[in-house]
């Protein structure tokens, strides 16, 4: 069975370009003497150049761990325990930290959630931007570095960039700090950018501006983006493809239209229905998902969503067997779904 490319098109015809990033069976655990937390469990996906993948999940889904795992930034007591990560033809999961340092920031970059704490408070903005530039540029004269840094800030729409290089992070607003974070990330034109909830801490209007900026930049630079978020609205605005993550696994992966028009996995459906929709006020209380997110150290056998699943709650098959990724063809494209009932549910669910 061939893995579908994320946006749902089958790779059968062979004219699909080589993936910018290819992840297979990635698994990460966090170990302590009492328990082992399985944060990422057997995640696989491909990304084409310029593709935008939205990874959607709630807290405890493992999405942040996934981002850090791909970049090799998991610190003890966590470690990546399996899988391969092919970037530009190389398996970066096997690289030493030193070699990986040459890749991070250059071929694959990271933007984090909280702009307030993503910048070192005791160093100037200029220092930090230049640091990002100099990390992969060998010998760089100070004046040249400053010029390039000012250019980068200009690219992210920071006014009076040259002067503002000497400011400190606390003199910038949240939106501006996030732009700086983006500037640092794209400094070397990475082929893949991972953004972990980049706008969650921002105002709605600032969020809109930052997303527009990100949109423009990735178009210009041809970057593939993994956008991690819990906000489905952002996914619909920004992404081509979606992966819904639950308890460390991608339970549904498809093109973006599919997830909104015909979500197949019960969790995807529930997630969509939870979002307050004024038109459905008349229907009574929000269909909330009962129960709590699973304890990643004590996962149930079988499907991890099963205890909360309106479909599979009492079904022995769901309790006993872990569903494998299963490709189904829906009205809005193909999808890879980890559910025993994928075939029955495809195209049936309307949100």
């Amino acid at each position: 069975m061939s893995e579908p490319t994320v946006s749902g098109e089958s790779a059968a015809n062979g004219s699909v370009p080589a993936p910018a990033l290819s992840v297979r069976n990635l698994s990460t655990v966090f170990e302590s003497p009492q328990r082992t937390v399985h944060a990422v469990r057997d995640v696989s996906f491909d990304m084409r150049p310029t593709e935008r993948l939205g990874v959607v999940g709630e807290s405890g889904s493992g999405k942040s761990a996934l981002a850090l795992s791909i970049l090799g930034l998991i610190e003890p007591p966590g470690r990546v325990v399996g899988g391969e990560i092919m970037l530009g033809g190389r398996d970066i999961s096997k690289l030493s930290d030193r070699s990986l340092g040459a890749v991070r920031g250059k071929d694959i970059a990271l933007v984090l959630q909280d702009p307030m704490s993503a910048l070192d408070p005791v160093k100037t903005i200029g220092y930090q931007v230049i640091e990002a530039i100099a990390a992969h540029e060998g010998e760089l004269r100070r004046s040249a570095a400053r010029k390039r840094a000012a250019e980068l800030l200009g690219e992210v729409d920071i006014p009076q960039a040259e002067r503002r290089l000497d400011d400190y992070p606390h003199q910038y607003s949240g939106g501006m700090r996030q732009r700086v974070a983006i500037a640092m990330a794209i400094a070397h034109n990475p082929s893949v950018l991972i953004a972990d909830e980049p706008t969650t801490a921002l105002d709605v209007t600032t969020q809109s501006q930052v997303l527009a900026l990100l949109d423009r930049l990735v178009e210009q630079h041809g970057t593939a983006v993994i956008l991690i978020t819990h906000n489905l609205g952002i996914v619909s605005d920004f992404c081509d493809a979606v992966a819904v993550m639950y308890a460390g696994r991608f339970v549904e992966t498809s093109g973006v239209d599919h997830i909104f028009l015909s979500p197949t996995h019960p969790y995807s459906e529930a997630l969509l229905k939870c979002v307050p929709n004024p038109e459905r006020l008349a229907e009574g209380p929000l269909p909330a998902i009962t129960g709590f997110p699973p304890d990643l150290a004590q996962l149930p056998t079988g499907c991890s969503f099963q205890p909360r699943c309106p479909v599979g709650k009492d079904i022995p098959e769901c309790q006993g067997q872990t569903p494998q990724p299963h490709t189904v063809e829906g009205p809005s494209g193909a999808a890879s779904v980890e559910c025993h009932f994928a075939d029955q549910r495809i195209g049936q669910v309307k949100v």
């Binding site: 807290s59 709605v204 609205g233 619909s236 920004f238 239209d257 909104f260 997630l271 038109e279 269909p287």
Partner: protein, 375 residues
């Protein structure tokens, strides 16, 4: 309505502003307002870098008037710096306003002495945003919920216990859980404890300051359902503060949009979200991403405000939104005169010199964004 005029507050351009939404409530013939803000002003002093470290006054609330009717869910939406949290605290008199009045059932809170104020506090409660920081980590859930009863000396020990357990059960927590401390609970559960604490006194009005922002989406839904159910069950009035417009649209009956300490627009839910009059409301609404298919093509039609929210220290003289307004930017009347809050359509108030123009400029009607629903 008031025996004496409130003294003129900084920031008004001198035009006489009627306490419009208060008049609305009165004239309507519907239930009288249970909570009112009348020309509320709140200023703080901070050290300003631009003024050589001297203290400058920062006006966080600039002449706010609104009225909350009994039994409704009144929404306050706005972005950072708009003053919604400060307003909430002024309504409860946790902060003293610099000018203006707060009326609870027609009674000016400033006129109450300590005992009366305390009695009033029983009837107005607060739910905080951060479910972790607002709970004392050394108290058990049961103790946290019981504390308001103790403070107001209600019942004896056995009665308090019973009331506590009943309240906890109402929010979905068991007796056994009452013995645990906050760190043993999830975010959603902690917020329920916070809600139980606020509701155990059976208040009349509850002010909720971003009660679900810190929670996961699925948990948000659970808590919203709980709040709804309790409102019906206990006959409560809510003041619901949120930066999340989708939630406000879902949950509230009437909504006020705040910007830099002023009310920009105030209307019933359908009116505000369906046909917003103020350019700020329009840009705010169009900035909210909607989880629906076809999102990327819609994005082009956004009416983006320009730049970032102005500094609270340097308030523009006229309309606070003017520097960023797609409609009013650069226009003399918008720069010079602060637009009064006027009832431009029945029960729909806006503080704008050119209400309704923003939508034509943006071309982004809400109806477009929800193809399968009416606006």
């Amino acid at each position: 309505m008031s025996a004496e005029d409130p003294k003129p507050s900084p920031g008004t351009s001198g035009t006489e502003m009627t306490s419009a939404p208060t008049a609305l409530a009165a004239s309507n013939g519907a239930a009288p307002p249970v909570l009112e803000a009348e020309r509320l002003v709140k200023a703080f002093e901070i050290r300003s870098e631009e003024r050589f470290g001297r203290k400058v006054p920062v006006t966080v609330l600039d002449d706010i008037s609104l009225a909350v009717r009994k039994g409704e869910s009144f929404g306050l939406v706005g972005e950072s710096g708009c003053g919604k949290s400060t307003l909430a605290r002024c309504l409860l008199r946790l902060l003293e306003p610099t000018a203006g009045r707060v009326l609870f059932e027609g009674q000016d809170l400033a006129e109450l002495d300590r005992e009366e104020l305390r009695a009033m506090r029983r009837r107005m409660q607060f739910v905080f945003q951060d479910p972790f920081a607002s709970l004392d980590p050394r108290m058990t859930a049961g103790q946290i919920v019981e504390e308001p009863l103790l403070v107001h000396e209600i019942g004896n020990s056995a009665e308090r216990r019973a009331a506590t357990f009943e309240m906890l059960a109402d929010v979905g927590l068991t007796e056994e859980q009452a013995g645990r401390r906050p760190h043993a609970f999830s975010g959603g559960q902690r917020q329920r404890i916070g809600i139980a604490r606020a509701f155990v006194l059976r208040p009349d009005v509850v002010i909720l300051d971003e009660p679900i922002s810190a929670l996961d989406v699925s948990v948000q839904a659970q808590v919203l359902n709980l709040l709804r159910r309790l409102q019906t069950q206990l006959g409560l009035t809510y003041v619901f503060i949120s930066h999340d417009l989708a939630v406000a649209e879902y949950f509230c009956d009437r909504v006020a949009v705040l910007y830099l300490g002023q009310v920009m627009e105030l209307a019933d839910r359908e009116a505000l979200f369906g046909k917003p009059l103020h350019p700020y409301s329009v840009s705010l609404l169009s900035a909210v991403p909607v989880p629906q298919a076809g999102g990327r093509s819609r994005r082009a039609k956004r009416a983006q405000p320009i730049g970032e929210v102005s500094s609270v220290v340097d308030r523009p003289k006229g309309c606070p939104f003017e520097p960023r307004c797609p409609v009013g930017r650069g226009r003399d009347v918008c720069k010079g005169e602060r637009p009064p809050l006027v009832e431009h359509e029945p029960r729909h108030w806006a503080a704008c010199h050119f209400p309704g123009e923003a939508r034509t400029v943006a071309g982004a009607d809400r109806a477009v964004q929800r193809p399968n629903g009416m606006s």
